[in-house]
């Protein structure tokens, strides 16, 4: 349970401490990568809660999504079309959907537990 949190903190501190400078043009890609990573992360959590979690899907989805988003942005920059908007839109929508599903599942779980408690106490 603490492992993902630990990993996040570790990654955050690593990211804050690194002193790599990248050209300003590639910062767009980074923001999309953030979105993709968050989307995949929440997707993984949802899948886990829905019992459809799969290692391969999760890991491949994570890196593939990031790569695809970055690739789209790259293509968009070079074509002069704001293709990264598509990635942001898709990931944004999916992020919200995933979070909504997670919320519902958690609510259901919480209610079940509550009912059980009530049955036990009564």
């Amino acid at each position: 349970m603490w492992l993902p949190l630990l990993g996040l903190i570790l990654g955050l501190s690593l990211g804050l401490l690194t002193d790599i400078q990248i050209p300003a043009i590639y910062e767009n890609y980074l923001s999309i990568a953030v979105l993709a990573a968050l989307d995949t992360l929440f997707g993984g959590i949802r899948a886990n809660l829905q019992q459809v979690y799969d290692d391969k899907v999760f890991l491949s989805g994570f890196f593939f999504n990031i790569a695809l988003a970055a690739g789209l942005a790259f293509l968009g920059v070079h074509l002069g079309v704001d293709l990264y908007l598509a990635a942001i839109f898709a990931f944004g929508v999916r992020l919200f959907q995933n979070i909504a599903v997670i919320r519902r599942i958690l609510i259901v779980k919480w209610e079940e537990r509550h009912i059980k408690k009530d049955e036990n106490t009564v």
Partner: protein, 240 residues
């Protein structure tokens, strides 16, 4: 409603899953942290840029205001200069006149040495006339000298000297028996009156009919008038 059964805790699979979660979480955290840091840096740079720009702009405005002030000052000064030039141009002719006049006045005052063409008038006592009982009838009086000098002045003599004594504006000539006192110095006859000026004018004015020359002759005085090309007179300061 979904029922969530307990996860089967196969040790191998669990650790693998954990590892994947760890990797993903670290990567996500890294990306988020890194982009956060980048954005912060950017903001900092942007802020410093903005500050710099602001200060530069203020400097620029200051400089422009200063430029404006200086330009106004320059305009003012140029206007003043033009006024000066205008008045100078107006006065230039006047200045020349004034300088000439000043030179003339200095000559008249005798404070600078005079030289130039002019005439020399010599007044001599006539030879003793035994027929005459009054010696005043044939000696030169100061009135004769005065009239000659007056006539010379009238006809535009720039400077006059008697026996080498330069006449000043406040010079006096006094009869003192057989001699004449000029500014306290006594001179006997003959009297040599030198005058710098246009010699022709001077001579003709002296020799005008019924003028000084005739008057002197009628008073039995020996008068000689010479035109001279160059007469040199010292200034009164030199004599003193």
């Amino acid at each position: 409603m979904m029922k969530i059964p307990l996860q089967s805790k196969k040790n191998n699979k669990f650790t693998r899953k954990q590892l994947i979660i760890l990797i993903v979480c670290i990567t996500t955290g890294f990306i988020i942290g890194y982009s956060y840091k980048l954005t912060k840096n950017h903001e900092k740079i942007n802020n410093s840029y903005i500050d710099q720009e602001e200060s530069y702009r203020e400097d620029l405005i200051d400089q422009q205001e200063r430029n404006k002030e200086l330009a106004e000052e320059l305009n003012d000064l140029q206007n003043r200069l033009r006024e000066y030039e205008k008045s100078f141009a107006e006065n230039e002719v006047e200045y020349e006149h004034l300088i000439e006049e000043a030179e003339k006045l200095r000559l008249l005052l005798g404070i600078i040495p005079a030289q130039g063409g002019g005439i020399q008038v010599t007044l001599k006592d006539n030879e003793y006339n035994p027929n005459s009982t009054n010696p005043n009838e044939y000696i030169v009086h100061e009135s004769h000298v005065l009239s000659v000098i007056n006539e010379l002045k009238i006809s535009g003599a720039e400077s006059i000297a008697i026996n080498g004594q330069r006449l000043k504006s406040n010079s006096y000539i006094r009869c003192n028996g057989p001699v004449i006192t000029i500014d306290g110095k006594q001179y006997p006859a003959p009297f040599v009156i030198e005058a710098v000026g246009d010699s022709k004018t001077l001579v003709s004015s002296l020799k005008i009919v019924g003028g000084v020359f005739d008057q002197l002759l009628s008073d039995n005085i020996v008068v000689t008038i010479e035109e001279k090309n160059l007469i040199q007179m010292p200034s009164i300061n030199d004599e003193a």
